[in-house]
Symmetry: C2
Subunit: 351 residues, 2 copies
Amino acid sequence: MTESAPRPTLEAVAARAGVSRATVSRVVNGGDGVRRPLVERVRRAVEELGYVPNQAARSLVTRRHDAIAVVVAEPETRVFADPFFALQLRGISKELTAHDSQLVLLLTEGRADHARVGRYLAGGHVDGALVFSLHLEDPLPELVRRAGVPTVFGGRPGWGDGTGGAVYVDSDNRGGAREAVRHLVGLGRRRIAHITGALDQTSAVDRLDGFRDVMAGAAPELIAEGDFTPAGGERAMRRLLERCPDLDAVFAANDLSASGALRVLRALGRRVPEDVAVIGFDDMLPVAEQTDPPLTTIRQDIEEMGRLMARLLLRGLDRRGGTPDSGEASAAAEAPSGVVLPTTLVRRASA
Amino acid sequence: MTESAPRPTLEAVAARAGVSRATVSRVVNGGDGVRRPLVERVRRAVEELGYVPNQAARSLVTRRHDAIAVVVAEPETRVFADPFFALQLRGISKELTAHDSQLVLLLTEGRADHARVGRYLAGGHVDGALVFSLHLEDPLPELVRRAGVPTVFGGRPGWGDGTGGAVYVDSDNRGGAREAVRHLVGLGRRRIAHITGALDQTSAVDRLDGFRDVMAGAAPELIAEGDFTPAGGERAMRRLLERCPDLDAVFAANDLSASGALRVLRALGRRVPEDVAVIGFDDMLPVAEQTDPPLTTIRQDIEEMGRLMARLLLRGLDRRGGTPDSGEASAAAEAPSGVVLPTTLVRRASA
DNA sequence: AGCCCGACGGGGAGCGCTCTCAGCGGGGGT
DNA sequence: ACCCCCGCTGAGAGCGCTCCCCGTCGGGCT
């Protein structure tokens, strides 16, 4: 009822426990260097008064916020159509929770939002940032660099090997793609096609590279550009079938495209996997398990990616806290600048 | 480079512009009551110094945070397997952004997390909360009540009509269910079965009620309990077919269950929709469009739900701010205590 | 031209917390 | 038994901002 009752302050707790503010503060922050009975007394006072520290006041002096920003660039709706995002978020959330940090979510769509995000990050509201879904020429990396906020990227930012010393966590897209294609080869397939993802994202490029690694001399007509969506997969599959009616396998850049390809194949009377073997990427459960036939695919541990990103960032922050003058991009400095998570082949019925 | 350079303070801007702190503060907060030329001068100083207000200091005195918490109870992985969550989040995010508020995401799994969330909310870190995915006997509503934080729920909390005066936004689950079943009736179906959702959630109960509204005298064996998952849908469909081999239509509580049901029907040689018409609920795109045949379903505007929740909360907060002593549950007071969004039938091939 | 009123700008107090620094007391060493 | 040292506690000074209140200046009215 009396929710407008003023929140108890440190002062109030101190008064009740008969100690000084400083002592209460010590107890609240771990209790080191305070004698047992006093700790107990303070704890009881805290309990009785329902005291909760005022984070704003604390941040004001510590300059820490125990909060990190998760920035999701979302030019396309695609990001939301798959559980990817949710899974990473969950991994991140778990890690942050364990570290008593909060998760501030920043979704951006379009240019205007970028400015807003830049302002927010530069405003020193958070201790660090986790940035996702980078596209070619994305202004986000530059933005966070300028904001001077320790950052870990989800997925390899930049192109080529010049990752600009950024810290990132990525799946082994290239290796996974190789494994997928090798699996098809192992099945005796020879005319293997590839439906790419949106080629403005490194993940798509890497998977294409992996495909090429194995199919060194693949005819260019065996590669059709997709966009990670089912519809794109359908279109690409049609094109592929027109150009190479004799193809006997398809490696799709993700499960969603694969599902589109599957539909086209069935509509055109090709049996899967007998006539055409199909393999996807992601192991996005609700999709991969529901297709007909269930999809053989390359799994990546998405939740673990999120967790790892958070862990990397927090570790960097802690280190920075320890030696303040290691200053600057300490998170980016000595940490491995890129961590690549392994992928595994999941065999179902489609290949 | 010199990111460790101390952020400029109000004081610094004031010095540079040759005015007092108070004046800079006024300019930064809208500039009312400051003469034009001065405003310009201050603006320039802000620009030159790259000044960004320290939110912690500001919150400390204003007691506002321009941040709201989004609490997602996630006992099951299910929540993450569907884009529901992401879509609501996006709606919320858009609305908050327009209001210059931040989104703090709190994911909970299990009891321990509840305590943490309670502490966080009570800690006065945010101006309000948006709470989702309530289950029967969920401690969350009580938690936020005690924390004294203005809250809007996603989905009707509580059971029966005693919503406890809480503000919530929900889809018209019951009405949508009625529409689904009526559609089947309109198709000439008579033996219509229902696969329920997880009955510890109001949405599932409401959809069941809607089914009963139309099929008043439906034999109990035409109702099988599911859990909103494809696997649950499969199990329920099997049971249904055993008990009532002559059924000619199924209304599944969501698209995911429907997809499971579809698989069973196909496996057992029933043609859809010729032998058995199937209708789902949600219009969860990646699922509903990918099934074979594509699923006829009831659409709810999930993003709009999210947006509306945020709008309702912010409006309540603003009002509260205007008349401080309207105090307490002002958000809950005069606002419509529940807003129910309409649903629409989406006809595809399955019914 | 003088007076009063209103509006604008400045000074200062604190929001609640942390952290440094000094002081005090008790235990161990000699 | 005395002294020293260390470990614990308390006092106080801000962190950067907002906002209240008062002084001041300019404009309008008589």
